[in-house]
């Protein structure tokens, strides 16, 4: 490695670059497998920019150029412009409202000539930078609630905008930045509370309303009974338990139904319920009655997931082979080159292939965490964690969605899914990290 140009390659973590190239190669193969039709003129279509795999290849070339450009950039540039870029990101997100293009039902895409931009997609980079910048400020004392709230605000403001553009999936990505905050000292309690609330919401979906209320009451009663000794000494325990009980029952009886009735769209409610394998309760259907009547073309909601599971499941241990995957080759899985690209790998290469891909991803994430921990500057570390968090969220949710463990949320699989914006975004995220890591001896502010 010594023969490389020292000016650029010095300090670069090549393992990450190799993983990156491997993933992009897998992605191109998968897109090729999903979209190649028998008898396509392979080279011609490559040159003519017509097929999806050739387009993706050109995006990859552009990404490489961009990566090179990023590697040539001074690390200080990122700290210096972090806030400015964040402001720019927010600005583009706002621009979407007057200038959006209605493509496939989202209101989050701006058209510029031949290209479509989805600001909510690449805004992740700016949020990541800005959050790192804020957390690394010398005057930030992250143990204070105020700082925690500001950090959460930085992370979640774009999410709010994304939700307003009906891009719930992309919005959810911003919640992954809590991992960064957790690493930087967010109280563990919040994590526990977060998990508890999530568990409670899932329970709400699975159990009948009043059954769950009774279960919660019984749990509260059991808790009081087990603490009856302390209870005698300390009356406030009773109040605390009662308070917790009230919050839980409140969430379960009122908050969740409220969200399901008034915040989420019907298709989202249906997707969530189909993940837990249940019918949407009639009261939610009633609340969304207007949508059902206006939405003429109501497709079977769990069609995607069912087909996706069939595709992956039919791959069995070793897969059917690259171009023999009937399920993905003959368009049974909708959106299979973008959000459901994992099906192609699951069907074509089976459990073995899927396992290897997941192993590569896990290696990537662990490598990023290792890199994060070796940074001298807080900025770099925070940024690295941000990248890890974003990748993790995308990978976990996307694959969990294709195998039926998570509701269908339209987020891409990093480096594999078809789509120029997402490939560019993830490349930029990763190569900024590589650049910062190359300068890990520097202390950046």
């Amino acid at each position: 490695m010594n023969d490389r140009n020292p000016a650029i390659s010095k300090g670069i973590d090549w393992s990450i670059v190799w993983i990156y190239l491997a993933l992009v190669a897998i992605g191109l193969t998968a897109i090729f497998a999903a979209t190649y039709k028998e008898g396509d003129p392979f080279f011609q279509s490559f040159l003519r920019f017509k097929t999806d795999y050739s387009k993706q290849f050109y995006f990859f070339v552009i990404s490489l150029l961009l990566a090179l450009f990023l590697l040539l950039t001074d690390s200080k540039f990122f700290t210096a412009t972090a806030n400015l870029l964040y402001a720019f990101g927010i600005f583009t997100l706002l621009l979407v409202f007057p200038f959006h293009d209605d493509i496939k039902g989202t209101k989050s895409i701006i058209r510029l000539g031949a290209f479509n931009f989805q600001p909510a997609e690449f805004c992740k980079i700016f949020v990541c930078l800005a959050l790192a910048k804020y957390l690394s400020r010398p005057e930030t004392d992250f143990s204070k609630t105020r700082s925690q709230l500001i950090a959460a605000g930085i992370a979640l403001f774009p999410a709010v905008l994304a939700i307003m553009q009906s891009e719930t999936g992309l919005a959810l990505v911003y919640f992954s930045f809590f991992i960064v905050m957790y690493r930087e000292g967010l109280p563990s309690g919040i994590l526990v509370i977060g998990f508890s609330v999530a568990a409670l919401i899932v329970a709400t979906l699975i159990f009948e309303k009043f059954t769950l209320a009774v279960i919660l009451t019984v749990i509260a009663a059991l808790a009081l009974y087990s603490m009856r000794r302390q209870l005698k000494r300390n009356r406030s325990i009773f109040l605390r338990v009662a308070f917790l009980w009230a919050i839980c029952v409140g969430i379960q009886l009122y908050a969740v139904p409220f969200v399901f009735k008034h915040v989420l769209k019907l298709y989202q409610v249906e997707r969530i319920y189909s993940t837990v394998g249940k019918e949407v309760p009639s009261e939610y259907m009633a609340a969304h009655q207007k949508e059902t009547t206006t939405e003429v073309k109501k497709k079977d909601t769990d069609y995607n997931v069912r087909q996706s599971k069939i595709a992956i499941g039919s791959g069995q241990l070793f897969g059917k082979g690259l171009l023999k995957a009937t399920q993905t080759r003959y368009d049974f899985v909708p959106e299979q080159r973008t959000d459901f690209i994992f099906c192609t790998i699951g069907e074509g290469f089976g459990f073995t292939g899927s396992f290897i891909l997941l192993a590569i991803y896990l290696l990537l994430l662990f490598r990023i965490v290792t890199i994060a921990e070796r940074q001298r500057s807080v900025f770099s570390r925070c940024y690295a964690y941000g990248v890890a968090a974003v990748f993790f969220f995308h990978i976990a949710i996307n694959i969990a969605m294709t195998v039926g463990l998570a509701p269908v949320i339209g987020i891409p699989l990093p480096f594999i899914s078809y789509g120029g914006t997402s490939l560019l975004t993830f490349t930029i995220l990763l190569f900024i990290l590589i650049r910062l890591d190359a300068d890990r001896q520097m202390v950046l502010r």
Binding site: E38, F142, I179, Y182, R183, E184, G185, Q307, K309, I310, A311, I312, G313, S314, G315, Q316, L317, T326, Q327, Y330, D331, F332, G346, E347, G350, F351, S354, F355, L358, Y361, L362, L365, F366, V369, A372, E373, V378, Y385, A388, F392, A396, I399, A400, V403, G404, L405
Partner: protein, 699 residues
Amino acid sequence: MPVFNQSRSRIIRLIFLIAFVVIIAQLFYLQVVEGKYRQLAMDNAVYPKIIYPERGIIFDRKGKAILNNTIIYDLMVTPAEVKGIDTLDFCRMLNMDTADFKKKILEAKLKNTAVRPSVFKGLLTADLQAKFEESSWKYPGFYLVERPLRIYPFNAAAHILGYIKEADPRDIERSGNYYRMGDYIGKSGLEAYYEKVLMGQRGVQYLIKDNKNRLVGNYENGAFDTAATAGRGLRTYIDIELQQLAEKLMTNKVGAVVALDPKTGGILTMVSGPNFNPNDLTGPDGSKNFSRMTLDVTGPMLNRAIGGLYEPGSTFKPLGALIALNEGVITPSYGFPCGGRYTLCGHGKPACTHAGGGHAANVRLSIANSCNSYYAHIYRLTVDNPKYGGVRKGYEVWRHYLNEFGLGVRLGVDLPGESTGRVYDGSVYDKENNGHWTSCTNLTLGIGQDKMGTTALQMANAMCIVANKGYYYTPHFVEKIDGESEADTALMNKFRLKHEVLTRIPDTAYRAVIEGMHDVVKFGTARIAQIPNIDVCAKTGTAENYTILDGQRIKLPNNSMFVCFAPKDNPRIAVAVFVQNAGYGATWGGPIARIMIEKYLNDTLMKKSQTDVDRISKANLMPAYFKRLQYKTDSARAYKWYNDYKDSTLIKKFLRFTTSSKPGDKKKPVPVKEKVRREVLALLPDEKQFYKSGENKLS
């Protein structure tokens, strides 16, 4: 710099790891543990296209194809491809209006979506097909699809050959889901009996389809495809010319004709009247004709030769004589002094056409003169034989003989729907007579009446036994199957087995009876059946019968029965002819049988016979009461339809007799006093018996 949170990096890694492990576990479950997904993916993408084999052909004894395959065309449409056609022109060509056209296109879209082909008009007539092919280029989206069809080149043998129809859910279940919806299956006749042989082996071609169910190519380049094997042909004993002749003779008659080859049990001809053209059930108007015929009270679809029960009447007498002779209760020279009626039971019944003159001086004469008293008496002698000690035991012995003659049992012909006939055991008489009965109670059994019911096939087969002096082969149509397999041989073996059931009857007995039957032709009741140079043995029969219509018992013209075989010494054909409500056995049954024998043995007809063919085929002997019965059945059905569905379309034409003009004021327009049973038609003699014995509760 806060480094105190470094331990949290491990927790974060742990979170990553847990999430991945959960996903991998789910993947393991989907891909390795749960096995159903491969099949689901196959079901999604692979379309097993059934390749239908050509159905087997049925040949007659001279190798002529009497049931063959042809191709007819369905007009298909793929609605999405129909663009810019001259709808008016198109509709004019097909004789339909544009509204109908639009409706059909819409139906096609709803049924199979716009991108997949649907049947626009099934089974085009040859004329329409030619017209369409001429100008098909003008109509994109429309094309013809071949569809194999069964064709009966001789327009004959409808009841024998049977027909095929789409398999219904019951057929599919019975076949263990071998058949699928839309498959054709033999529903009657040889088509049904030899279904496994005729249908052949289906082939499967695996095709790949995409998410819109469009076929996009072969799966794995056809590695799993199997070829179809054509059904095998059946070589039958049927003489198609004889069959056609018999069908011509039975035009506008109710009854049955069966001709057997006594040497092999091969069925040369089997006709059931009224008849129909088998081609009516295939082709464009098939279903229309099918429903018309099912609603016809004359029952054209019923095969009366194996399913219609008739009292054999006097045609039974040769059998009665053989039984009595073998039992030793009489000898060939036994005579009976008949004075015109049988008096030994006290009521003077049955009456006899002859009186005195020694017309029943021995067995031979009694047959020639068809003496009722004689046969009533020898029946009594048989069942009252002291060696059995009691009428019940004697009756069972007699009944056993009948079963050996093939009466009252299924012969096992290779057609579905064969009737056992009717020879009751003693318990029926016990029940009717409170346990007290004697040979006088049912003495008319001796002359083939009382409760006896036989099919034409059974009587023809009984004639074979007489002609062969004791043995027979199960009557069957198929001589051999092309490319006979082991399974086929197992199927056919029962037809190749010689049943030596009554060879124990002494030759003298057979000789007496056969000579008697020969005399019947020479100078007895069947003189009409004489053929120069051929010794025909025959027996006529005339059975009275009644029916109940509008609550009244009506006497119908007699059934004309005729059984015979020829030549006497080397029997080559046995014929049974039953003509319902035609008159004396000799008037209709005799000539028909004679013409059949002539045609089969001489291959030509004498001049007399040719004129007879004309006369008989033009005679309309359809019983008149059928018209009334049809009216009643139709109106009763219309009335029920009206009651059940409040739809007056059917009942309208029956309403002309009502005086009321207000539609709401219908005074029960149809007199529905009793339900009419379909099977009544073939069971008329039986009905009479029920009436006589006081059990006339026809419901």
